[in-house]
C-alpha cells in the first residue's frame, strides 16, 4: 500500500452561493437529497483506500465539524490515521488565518510529517465527482512527476473561470494561466493535486517566506514550479462539477433526477457515504403524483412533485405542487402551495397557499451577480406564513419571518 495523505481544503466561503452559505461553509451545503458537498470528496478518499485525511476548515466550520465528527460514516474512525479536522491556530508569530490554499497546507506541515508520506493529494471539499485517486497517483508515478494536476477539457467560452494549462505532447505542463481572459487552451485544472511530499514541502517553506506571494496553489505554486520541474496534467474523464453558483448548484441537483443522470449515486462499488440522521422510509400518500424526483427518508408526501430533489424529513401537504426545486432537510410545506424553480434551505417552514417563483423575471436588487437566474432562494430556518406570494429571482435571508399575505415581486429580497 502506498503511503498517501489527503488534505481536503474545506475553508471556502463560496460567496457565489449567497444565502446558502451565510451560516455554513460551502462544503457543508446539502446536495442530492441526503448528502453534503464534502461527502463526495471524503467518499472518494476512502473508496480509493486513503485513510489518512486532514480536513482544513476556516469559514463557519461548526456544522461541518459536527457532520464529520470522528469520521464514523466514512470508516475514518481509526486507530491509525482516520480523519483530523485542521483548524487555523495561533502561534508565537501571531499568524492565525490561512491566507491561501498553499498557506493552509504550509501551516499543517507538521500534521503531514507525522505520517511521513511519499505522496500528498490536495483536494477541494466542495466538488461533486467520483474519482479513484489511485489512477491519478499511478499516472503521477508513471510520469516520474513531482506534481500532477488533474484536469478536464471545458468549453473555451468557460475557460476564463478556471486555471488553464498548456501541455506538451507528453502532457507535461509548460504554461499555467489562472483565470485567463485569453485562454491558450481549454484544459482546466480541477483543483485536485498530487505531490511528492518531500518536494512540495520545500516549495511551501520557500513560498511562505515570499512576501509577494498570495500563497495559492493555482496562482503562485503551480506557475512557479512548472518552469523548472516535471509537472504533469492528468486528463480526467468523468463527471466533475464545481457547484459554485446558485444556478449550477440547482442544475446539478436536478440533473440527478434524469433517467440516466451524468452523475451516478447508485454505483454499488462507489458508494457515497454521509452522516445522516436515522429516519424511517418515506411515506407517499394516495393523492401524490411524483415524477422525475429524488425523495429521501423521513419524508411525508401528500402533494405533487416534479423534477425536484427532496431531502430527509420533508413534509409536503395536500394539494401542493413542487416543480424544478431543491428542498433541503426538515422543510415543512403546508397545503395548496405552488413552488417552482426554488431552493429552499434547511428547516424552513412554509404555511398554506404560499406561492413561490411566479410572475416575470426581474433583476435581483440585492446582488444581481449572485442571483442571476429565475431561481428563488430561501435561507435556513426562515418562516413563510400562509398566503405569501414570492416572485422569481428573490432572496429570503436566514431566520426571516414573512407574515401572512406578504407579496414579494420578482427580484426582491428580505
Amino acid at each position: 500500500m502506498r503511503n498517501v495523505v489527503a488534505l481536503i481544503l474545506a475553508g471556502g466561503q463560496g460567496t457565489r452561493l449567497g444565502v446558502l452559505t451565510e451560516r455554513i461553509a460551502k462544503p457543508a451545503v446539502q446536495f442530492g437529497g441526503k448528502y453534503r458537498l464534502i461527502d463526495f470528496t471524503l467518499s472518494n478518499c476512502v473508496n480509493s483506500g486513503i485513510y489518512k485525511v486532514g480536513v482544513l476548515t476556516q469559514y463557519k466550520p461548526h456544522l461541518l465539524n459536527k457532520h464529520i465528527g470522528i469520521g464514523k460514516p466514512w470508516d475514518l474512525d481509526r486507530k491509525d490515521g482516520g480523519v483530523t479536522i485542521l483548524q487555523p491556530y495561533f502561534t508565537e508569530k501571531e499568524k492565525v488565518w490561512f491566507s491561501g490554499t498553499a498557506d493552509a497546507v504550509y501551516q499543517n506541515i507538521e500534521f503531514v510529517d507525522e505520517y511521513s508520506p511519499e505522496y500528498v493529494v490536495v483536494l477541494s471539499g466542495d466538488h461533486v465527482y467520483s474519482m479513484d485517486y489511485n489512477e491519478l497517483i499511478d499516472y503521477h508515478i508513471s510520469k516520474s512527476s513531482l506534481a500532477t494536476v488533474a484536469c478536464m477539457e471545458v468549453p473555451l467560452s468557460e475557460a476564463n473561470r478556471f486555471g488553464i494549462m498548456v501541455t506538451d505532447l507528453e502532457n507535461r505542463i509548460i504554461e499555467f494561466q489562472e483565470k485567463p481572459s485569453e485562454p491558450k487552451s481549454n484544459l482546466a485544472s480541477l483543483g485536485i493535486y498530487v505531490f511528492q511530499w518531500n518536494f512540495i514541502r520545500e516549495i511551501l517553506i520557500e513560498d511562505a517566506k515570499n512576501p509577494e506571494s498570495s500563497h495559492d496553489f493555482g496562482k503562485d505554486i503551480i506557475p512557479k514550479i512548472i518552469q523548472t520541474k516535471r509537472v504533469f496534467a492528468f486528463p480526467f474523464e468523468g463527471y466533475w462539477k464545481d457547484v459554485g453558483t446558485i444556478y449550477s448548484y440547482w442544475e446539478a441537483n436536478l440533473e440527478l433526477t434524469r433517467p440516466i443522470p451524468a452523475f451516478n449515486l447508485y454505483d454499488e462499488n462507489w458508494r457515497i457515504y454521509t452522516h445522516s440522521e436515522e429516519m424511517p422510509p418515506a411515506y407517499i400518500s394516495f393523492d401524490s403524483k411524483i415524477k422525475n424526483t429524488l425523495i429521501s427518508e423521513g419524508c411525508e408526501i401528500y402533494g405533487n412533485i416534479e423534477n425536484s430533489v427532496i431531502s430527509q424529513g420533508v413534509e409536503i401537504g395536500k394539494g401542493t405542487i413542487v416543480k424544478n426545486s431543491v428542498i433541503m432537510s426538515k422543510v415543512k410545506i403546508g397545503e395548496n402551495c405552488y413552488i417552482e424553480n426554488a431552493i429552499v434551505a434547511e428547516n424552513v417552514i412554509i404555511g398554506n397557499s404560499v406561492k413561490i417563483g411566479i410572475g416575470d423575471f426581474a433583476e435581483n436588487k440585492l446582488n444581481k451577480d449572485i442571483y442571476n437566474s429565475e431561481i428563488t432562494v430561501i435561507g435556513m430556518d426562515s418562516i413563510i406564513e400562509d398566503n405569501v406570494t414570492i416572485g422569481k429571482n428573490c432572496v429570503i435571508g436566514i431566520d426571516k419571518v414573512l407574515p401572512s399575505n406578504t407579496k414579494l415581486d420578482s427580484g426582491e429580497f428580505i
Binding site: P281, A282, Y283, I284, S285, S288, L294, I305
Partner: protein, 371 residues
C-alpha cells in the same frame, strides 16, 4: 439506578413459515428498513440502558450480522455495550436453551458480574415504541417485586393467543390466564418484565435446576400470590410479529395506513435505530405512479406501486404493478410484472410479465427466488 436489558430473541415461529426459514423472528425485516428487534433494542437505548444482552438460539446468522458490534445503537462501548448470549458447549456438555428461564440461567454470569440493580426483560419480536422510565417509577411507587407490561387489547387482537391478567384497583396482579378462550379480562401481558436483579437470580436458582424452564409459567406464575406482581398499563401501539404471516402483513399495512402509528413509532420518544446501509435517496422516474406506500432509500421506481412497503434498494421497472405487497431489500420487479397481496423476501426477481398474486393469506416468495 442501573438497569440491565435482556432481549429474548431465540425463538422460532412455525407460523411465520418461509419468512423464518433462514432467520430468527427477531430478525424479520419490517416497515421498509427495520428488523423486528430494532424496536425493543432502540427502546432500551432510548431509556438509557447501556448494557444489553441478546439471547439467541434459532438460526442467528442474520440477526448477528444485523447487530454487529452494536454500533448503530451506540452500544459499542467500554462500559456496558452489547452482549450476544448464545447457547454454548461447556465442560459438562452442551446445552440448548430449554426455555426462557433456562436461557437466562445459563447466562447467570452477566447477571452476577454487572453492577446493575434491575433487569428489564423484553422480546425481539415486539413492535412498539416506549420509554421505560415511567415503568421504573411505577415499579418503585408500588413497591413491586416484579412489574409486567400490560395493555388492554381491543377486538383487533385474538385474545385467546395472549396471556391475560386480572388486576385489583392498585394494578396488582391477582390472576393470570395463559392463552385461554374467553378470559375474564382483556388486559394482556406484553412480554416485558421489570424485576430486581437479585430477586431474579434467587428465583432462577431455585427453579431452573428443578426443571422449571419457562420464566413466566414456571418461575413467576407459581408465585404470583406470594410476590408483589404489578401490571403497568401501556397505552400505545403494540404488535407481535410472531403471531403469524397475516399478523406480520397487517402490521406493515397499519404502518402505511395510519400516520398516527408512524408518528408514534418513528418520531416520538426517541428514534428507532437500525443498521445503516448508505443507499442514496429513492428515485421516482417519469412513468412512476406511487400511492399510499412506504418507500425506503435506494429504490428506483418506474412502475406502479399502491398500498405497499418497498424496502431499501428495490427496483420497479416501467409497466410493473405492485399492490398490497411487501417487497424486501434488493428485489427487482421487471417490466410488466404484476405482484398483488404478496410478500417478496430479499434479493428476489420477478421476471418480465410474470404474476404473483396471493389471496386472503399473502403469498410469500422465499429469499433469492426468481420467478
Amino acid at each position: 439506578m442501573k438497569v440491565l436489558g435482556l432481549i429474548l430473541a431465540g425463538g422460532k415461529s412455525e407460523r411465520l413459515g418461509k419468512l423464518v426459514y433462514k432467520r430468527a423472528s427477531a430478525a424479520l425485516p419490517i416497515a421498509g428498513k427495520y428488523r423486528a428487534i430494532d424496536f425493543t433494542l432502540s427502546n432500551m437505548v432510548n431509556s438509557e440502558i447501556i448494557k444489553v444482552g441478546v439471547l439467541t438460539q434459532y438460526n442467528p446468522r442474520s440477526l448477528m450480522d444485523h447487530l454487529g458490534s452494536g454500533k448503530e445503537w451506540n452500544l459499542d462501548r467500554k462500559k456496558g455495550g452489547l452482549f450476544i448470549l448464545q447457547p454454548y458447549v461447556g465442560l459438562d456438555g452442551q446445552y440448548w436453551y430449554k426455555g426462557t428461564a433456562d436461557a437466562i440461567f445459563q447466562n447467570m454470569t452477566i447477571l452476577r458480574r454487572g453492577d446493575e440493580d434491575y433487569v428489564l426483560i423484553g422480546s425481539g419480536d415486539h413492535i412498539y415504541k416506549m420509554l421505560y422510565n415511567d415503568l421504573y417509577m411505577f415499579h418503585f411507587s408500588k413497591g413491586a417485586d416484579i412489574t409486567l407490561l400490560t395493555k388492554e387489547l381491543d377486538e383487533t387482537y385474538n385474545i385467546k393467543e395472549y396471556g391475560t391478567v386480572v388486576v385489583d384497583e392498585n394494578m396488582k396482579i391477582n390472576e393470570f390466564y395463559e392463552k385461554v378462550e374467553n378470559p375474564p379480562s382483556r388486559r394482556a401481558f406484553l412480554g416485558v418484565y421489570f424485576i430486581n436483579k437479585h430477586l431474579l437470580m434467587e428465583l432462577l436458582y431455585s427453579t431452573v435446576p428443578n426443571g422449571g424452564n419457562d420464566l413466566l409459567l414456571d418461575v413467576i406464575l407459581p408465585r404470583i400470590n406470594e410476590l408483589k406482581v404489578y401490571a403497568y398499563d401501556f397505552k400505545g401501539y403494540w404488535r407481535n410479529v410472531k403471531k403469524g404471516i397475516n399478523e406480520y402483513y397487517k402490521i406493515n399495512m397499519e404502518i402505511i395506513e395510519n400516520r398516527e402509528i408512524r408518528d408514534e413509532l418513528f418520531f416520538r420518544n426517541g428514534k428507532v435505530f437500525t443498521k445503516l446501509k448508505d443507499f442514496p435517496p429513492a428515485k421516482f422516474g417519469s412513468t412512476s405512479n406511487v400511492e399510499n406506500s412506504i418507500i425506503a432509500d435506494g429504490c428506483i421506481i418506474s412502475g406502479t406501486v399502491k398500498n405497499s412497503v418497498l424496502f431499501r434498494g428495490v427496483t420497479v421497472k416501467a409497466g410493473a404493478k405492485i399492490e398490497n405487497s411487501i417487497i424486501m431489500q434488493g428485489s427487482l420487479i421487471e417490466e410488466g410484472a404484476v405482484v398483488k397481496n404478496a410478500i417478496i423476501d430479499k434479493d428476489c426477481v420477478v421476471r418480465e410479465g410474470q404474476t404473483l398474486i396471493g389471496d386472503f393469506e399473502p403469498v410469500v416468495l422465499e429469499k433469492r427466488m426468481i420467478i
